[in-house]
Amino acid sequence: MRTSNLAVAFFAGAFSLLLAGTAGAYCRTSSCMEGMAHTAAVCDPPQQTDCGTPLFWASRCIGYSVQVNASIKVTFAQTEQVMKAAFATWAAADCTGGNPQMAVTEAAPATCDQHEYNQTKGNANIILYHDDVWPYEGSPNTLALTTVTYNLDTGEIYDADMELNSADNDFTVSDTNVDFDLQSIVTHETGHFQGLAHSANPTAVMWPEYVEHTTTLRTLTADDEAGICAIYPPSPANSDCDATPRHGFSTLCAAQQPAQSTSSCGVGSPGGAPGSDGGTGPSGGVLAGLGALVLAWGRSRLRRRATA
């Protein structure tokens, strides 16, 4: 399909969807290769605008790291608690005969205070605040932003980072005197983190609207559960669950990590296979400096939890 036709078809479809209304439907974020490669969505039941391959975490394990400084408004401990609760909400989804096969665990705190996906160095899925300046020009209205990096051909998610705009907003973590409820916002964001797009069901956590001063998005609906169960259907626990990020785990930003060794100490199959990101190391095979030490601590925790 020619690109211009693609644009017309997409917007025409979107417009008819908007005007005609639609039954509730969960949607998965997807990699669409029609025209120029772009991010799209695939829904159930299908929508006119569906396109591409849904995104997913191939290992069914995610480790995330809270940035060590957290925020002057929300402490590190509070952030840990909120993140844990948000991911636990998704993990407890009722898939009729089990829970989603996805182990999400907290890894060592990140010192890196930026969104990054490193193609030749270690990575971490970072949860970070911007207390001083929200770095996205023209968008101080943004509360939270998640960046998902993925393989265009397979839809495999490589990395996800969540940035919270504490420079322009006051998040609250209590059940009373709620302003912008961090747990509600983060529960929605962690749905994206795991591969969900917005739902067409107005009651769903993944519906693209949050009403200020409420905590309703802390609780999943059947539509949200159907979505997460479709991505990660229940199956027996995977004892080999490995949450190591692509190219290894590091709490450091790329600039602080030592240059990657060119010696032959790498193990596993080389990167650069069709559909890979062209990195020089194997997935999970390159550990960087201090990050390697932290990983040793982090992975033992992850494995214990994943098999629990």
Partner: protein, 182 residues
């Protein structure tokens, strides 16, 4: 005043932005240009930004009408996310401007780059309805929006579903009022 039901704000494309709704006046205040234009070629590159190294997309937009500001005949718009080689990056509620698409765009020039004001909240694609009227729709990446308490109406509510000519008139009226109050 157009107040649309929540369904009209929905597009099943978005990833992961949570944002407060902004008013049309705020959108205009933050924008250097407002243009009706058609997207042309685009290219994606890895770029170092204050937020870190990420994929960005540069889209060439041919300006059909300059509604506010003086952008010239063409403007190069930078948006977050895109695809380079075999890697895709989905960035949360950012405007996705497809080549060949026509849109009303609120743009801000900062540090040499032109970006969409308020990300997807500053991008309103034009679609011709069944009666042949060109109307604005929500950006495909408009993301999780926080309902605005009180009587204020968001730009999103005012513009989505509005005929293009009416929307342009509205923006020009607001711009004129802003200029007169300076």
């Amino acid at each position: 005043m157009l107040a649309l039901p929540p369904l009209l704000a929905f597009s099943p494309r978005a990833e992961a932005l949570t944002a407060r709704l902004i008013t049309l006046d705020q959108l205009l205040e933050r924008s250097t240009y407002v243009v009706l234009g058609t997207a042309g070629e685009r290219r994606c590159v890895w770029e170092d930004l204050p937020s870190g190294r990420r994929i960005v997309t540069y889209t060439r937009v041919a300006v059909e009408r300059a509604v506010a500001g003086a952008p010239g005949a063409e403007v190069l718009v930078r948006t977050l996310g895109g695809a380079v080689d075999h890697i895709g990056q989905a960035v949360s509620g950012e405007a996705q401007i497809f080549p060949g698409s026509r849109a009303l765009l609120f743009l801000v020039q900062i540090n040499g780059a032109v970006v969409v004001t308020g990300m997807a909240q500053g991008h309103y694609p034009v679609v011709v309805d069944a009666k042949g009227t060109p109307r604005l729709v929500a950006s495909p990446d408009v993301d999780m929006l926080v309902s605005r308490p009180g009587p204020t109406v968001s730009a999103h509510e005012r513009l989505v579903g509005t005929p293009v000519e009416d929307a342009i008139s509205l923006v020009k009226q607001l711009q004129k009022a802003r200029d007169e109050n300076k």
